[in-house]
């Protein structure tokens, strides 16, 4: 007997006959679409978890990137709008770069798939303007650019918008730990600096 059949057989006999009655799940909590997105709340939540927030008009994104990463080397996904990047940064497009090469750059600039106001979360789904997961992991500075209309109110709203078959990374502030006396400390293995640029 395979272990698969053994385990499934154990579980069926554990449940017995007749099977426990089916359960109706009460979904009386706020579902997707119940709450309007509040960009000011999103900014407040991001700031509370030590992300740096910049709000600007779309043409000014390059200026913000210059302020944060000017003079440094930056990896970008292949589909990133080039007008977000100032001349002052040394741009390294990700063309399946070796891991060591990605680890050596100073920063990364990406877009996002969706963002959650209530929790201060940005969600990346590996789209062309977000790239492979590794490029937002190894550089120490992550600049994430998103439009205000990409901000949704709640976690249910965000889950309804993303595709489970894509690799998803939910990011809420810079890398942190609560492992020393259960106090939150920012800056462990992931990027220690998270900048979120919100365009109108």
């Amino acid at each position: 007997m395979s272990s698969r059949d053994l385990i499934l057989g154990r579980l069926r006999s554990a449940l017995g006959e007749p099977r426990p009655a089916p359960v109706e799940v009460p979904r009386d909590y706020r579902p997707a679409g119940a709450v309007a997105a509040d960009v000011d709340l999103f900014v407040d939540r991001l700031t509370d978890y030590r992300a740096t927030v910049h709000r600007c008009a779309t043409p000014d994104v390059a200026r913000v990137v210059d302020d944060v990463l000017g003079g440094r080397q930056v990896v970008v996904p292949a589909g990133l709008p080039r007008h977000w990047l100032p001349d002052s940064v040394d741009v390294l497009p990700d063309d399946d770069l070796p891991t060591g090469r990605v680890a050596a750059v100073d920063g990364v600039v990406t877009a996002a798939a969706v963002a959650v106001a209530e929790t201060g979360t940005i969600v990346l789904d590996g789209g062309p303007d977000q790239g492979r997961r590794v490029i937002t992991l190894l550089p120490d500075v992550h600049v994430c650019v998103l439009r205000a209309d990409q901000v949704v109110a709640t976690v249910p709203d965000a889950l309804a918008r993303v595709d489970p078959h894509r690799p998803l990374t939910w990011i809420s502030g810079p890398s942190a730990t609560s492992d020393i006396e259960l106090n939150r400390v920012e800056g462990v293995h992931g990027p220690r600096h998270l900048h979120v640029v919100i365009t109108a």
Binding site: M1, S3, D5, I7, L8, R10, L11, R12, S13, A14, L15, G16, R19, P20, P22, V23, E24, V25, D28, Y29, P31, R45, Y49, D96, A103, V116, T119, G120, T121, G126, R132, R133, L137, V155, L159, A160, P164, R166, P167, L168, T169, W170, I171, S172, G173, S175, A176, T177, S178, D179, I180, E181, L182, N183, R184, V185, G187, V188, H189, G190
Partner: protein
Amino acid sequence: MTAPGRPAGATGDGTTFLGMPATAPPGVGHLRGDEPFPAAARRALGDAQLRRNLRHATTTIRDKSGAVIGEVPDWQELRAAGRAIKTDTMARLPELLEQLAAAVTAAGGTVHWAADAVEANRIVADLVRATGADRVMKVKSMATQEIGLNEALEAAGIEPVETDLAELIVQLGRDKPSHILVPAIHRNRAEIREIFLREMPGVDPGLTDEPAALAAAARRHLRETFLSTRVAVSGANFAVAETGTVAVVESEGNGRMCLTLPETLITVMGIEKVIPTWRDLEVFLQLLPRASTGERMNPYTSMWTGVTPGDGPQQVHLVLLDNGRSAVLADEVGRQALHCIRCSACLNVCPVYERTGGHAYGSVYPGPIGAVLSPQLTGVADNASLPYASSLCGACYDACPVMIDIPSILVHLRAEAPHPRAEAATMAAAAYTMDHPALYAAAQRGARLARLAGPRGRGLPPPLSGWTASRDLPAPPPQTFREWWVER
């Protein structure tokens, strides 16, 4: 090995057939302690530093968690939904696991089934060996601690490297985890600094005990490991049957490193972690961080569905682990222990845990949830003292984000634990006495006389001394209520 309860398939004459629910085998993994809880707890209570560390940490997390839960207007509705989803999951567990396995396979992953710890350890070691690697990096995972995977890998000549900060502290300190979420909760910053200075090669001798400095030291220490290790082992917080998606919730980025950088990813998951639908994540992703670390959302959550060409590990394995879970499922009262999402809120509110710490429970699952989960996974006889490691105050039930009724399971398991014959005889005699008023009055007078035999708190003589080992006998009043009533 026996299963609690009387599931269908039990023949009633003591024989079993393959497919009967089975408890976790002894001799492997970390579900059984070396000594009963009262003995271990007594020693822990004598450690003043441990009690200070625990009190500080649990007070901090209770305050944080309470504040962010207070921000959510529909917290009780989310809890009710979480409980119902888990109840539904357990009722359909075999079918959901088959659905999950099919979805993961369709997405390019490979599914393995492990009946117990021995088989899971062998599967993982064989998979690592097949890659030619002699080192794996690990994301913190309760399931792999439960089965003793690190010891099994070492025995197979493979070095496991824990990458979670608290697990690293435990591993470097050759220590044991004492909390589900923060395995090094029993260590304060000064102790962590000492461990790093002693055990971390190339560490800055001027390292301070500032938490930020300690975290930075861990970052430097593990960076090269992340970049060069070709195989990672993780656990799973959730796996979605409908889509085959696996989710890992973490803070530091060590999880993202392990889930993204290696060529091969092996995830070991208890079978109860499956959830039916993608939408169900909207409940648990709200409940878990607020109940667990007291954050609105943990810094990083990774979700993957099989293999994504060109992004992340190209060899993705999922090991589905039973190891006693089928035996838990067989108990109609106890099966809700399988609803646990490992947030550790019940530990943080428990007056017993706060004083004894996690090591006293013997199992990798400490605290209130451990007191109901460990005895069921091993069979109650192997963890017979744990159902008593509680004052039944109910704080755990109130704190649980999926509303597991831990006190009721504790009482249920106490009834299943082996009891000395003298206790049953005494209880039967007491019941008879209370049924007969004249006898009862005589017994009350007798109890008062018994005071002459010794001061209050001495306890009962053997064989009843077990009952009073952790309880004081109440002092009988000088006048009973009945005597007072007659005088009026």
